[in-house]
Symmetry: C2
Subunit: 249 residues, 2 copies
Amino acid sequence: MAGNTSAPGASVTSRALALLGAFDERHRRLTLTQLAERAGLPLPTAHRLVGELVAWGALSRTDEGCYVVGRRLWDLGLLAPVQTGLRELASPYLHDLYGATLATVHLAVRDGTEVLYLDRLAGHTSVPVVSSVGSRLPLHATGVGKVLLAHAPAEVQRSVLAELPRLTAYTITQPGLLRRQLARVLREDHATTSEEMSLGACSIAVPIRRGPEVVAALGIVVPSLKDRARLAGALQVAARGIGRSLGTG
Amino acid sequence: MAGNTSAPGASVTSRALALLGAFDERHRRLTLTQLAERAGLPLPTAHRLVGELVAWGALSRTDEGCYVVGRRLWDLGLLAPVQTGLRELASPYLHDLYGATLATVHLAVRDGTEVLYLDRLAGHTSVPVVSSVGSRLPLHATGVGKVLLAHAPAEVQRSVLAELPRLTAYTITQPGLLRRQLARVLREDHATTSEEMSLGACSIAVPIRRGPEVVAALGIVVPSLKDRARLAGALQVAARGIGRSLGTG
DNA sequence: GCGAAGCTTCCGGTGAGTGGAAGAGTGGAC
DNA sequence: GTCCACTCTTCCACTCACCGGAAGCTTCGC
């Protein structure tokens, strides 16, 4: 379970990349030994490569001797054209939603069998929110995930329904129940969750369409679903606005 | 002027990194030939290394055959601890400012002799805004830049004042004039620009303090400075709020 | 159809990368 | 103070994976 291992004899580049790949959401700070292990490299090799990466700015070393992703990679990553148009166009609508709901607002797309969060407007509320920009979460336990799953190809649905890991006591782990919920998402054009991803957090989400095709999802995180109708309405108006901009952009 | 050139005999890793370093704000899309030239590598070498980088996801290839920064580097870059605490704490205040002014709001720090933009809330206005998250701009031609410069060490001021590149017809290029403005920034505790960075855009900015020390700057971009007093007031309230959170965080 | 520009593949020589082994720091237990 | 365990750093000779010139391959424009 130690991340990417790179077989001996692999190219130098792939070893350096294996080191970078050792970092993820759950492992933002790693010691040299951890890095070497997760990359599947001997310690001296890791030591030398990490030295080069630090010199370039791809990694940097904290005071405590741990390694973290460096600022130069932050710069570089921001140049990546990851749905740039969508994020740009959606931005004002996220603000509007935040203004109307004061809840944390999310813009997400599907990436294989996961949700990929593209943007986030964090509210002041104390509702626990586990998703941050760039993070990936399972499709079956979040509002935006259910929306994206409901509109995903059959093979993706099959693959996701085949394994529904439990995240809280309320996570839906029965394929039949989730399948009925997805049908309802298509019917009502919005999805909800109740503490299925993390305790204390509910969510409401709607699809964003470019023409007939669902290209993304818009969601908010709230402490309870009692205001569901009003919030779903607000989300749908914003989603349509974004969809319209997409069509004409 | 072709970016990083890597001498022959340099390590493999440094060659791969030289390829990544070929990308910047002004060069987000490069052909193989451009990449090879900017990295100072022979074409076949660049070709092979780029192939490995693409396979890993560090780069990707567009339909037109250009290379761009890949999604995996976007993911990775977001893990970098670049002023995470500051950005997190400032976020709600940026929203508040946006709500109060409807202008584009910026959070920035000084990075050597440049401004580094950490966060941005883009307004609906048609005012041209050249700064985006992760970008760097000269300290002498932006509002946040003047604030940060006014509070920078003497050696940084000297180095910046020694060369004031002209960006528009209104850019301040006389050291004496800029020096007087910086004194005024200290006195009035806010800075302004009038079309000094890009035509049609003015800005107002204030320092963010952690205790006595200026650690960042907060600014907005507006079409004119006529509402200067009110806007500076709003900025100062927000900056104090952020500073207070920093102190207690 | 031709030429030019950009991309891709090939392959033998060679020197840069590899990683075992040994040494140096660090901190905790007694 | 002494020991031990752990993590990090340096060294160096062998070898094999990288290098890049040359040649072939597309894809344009004319």
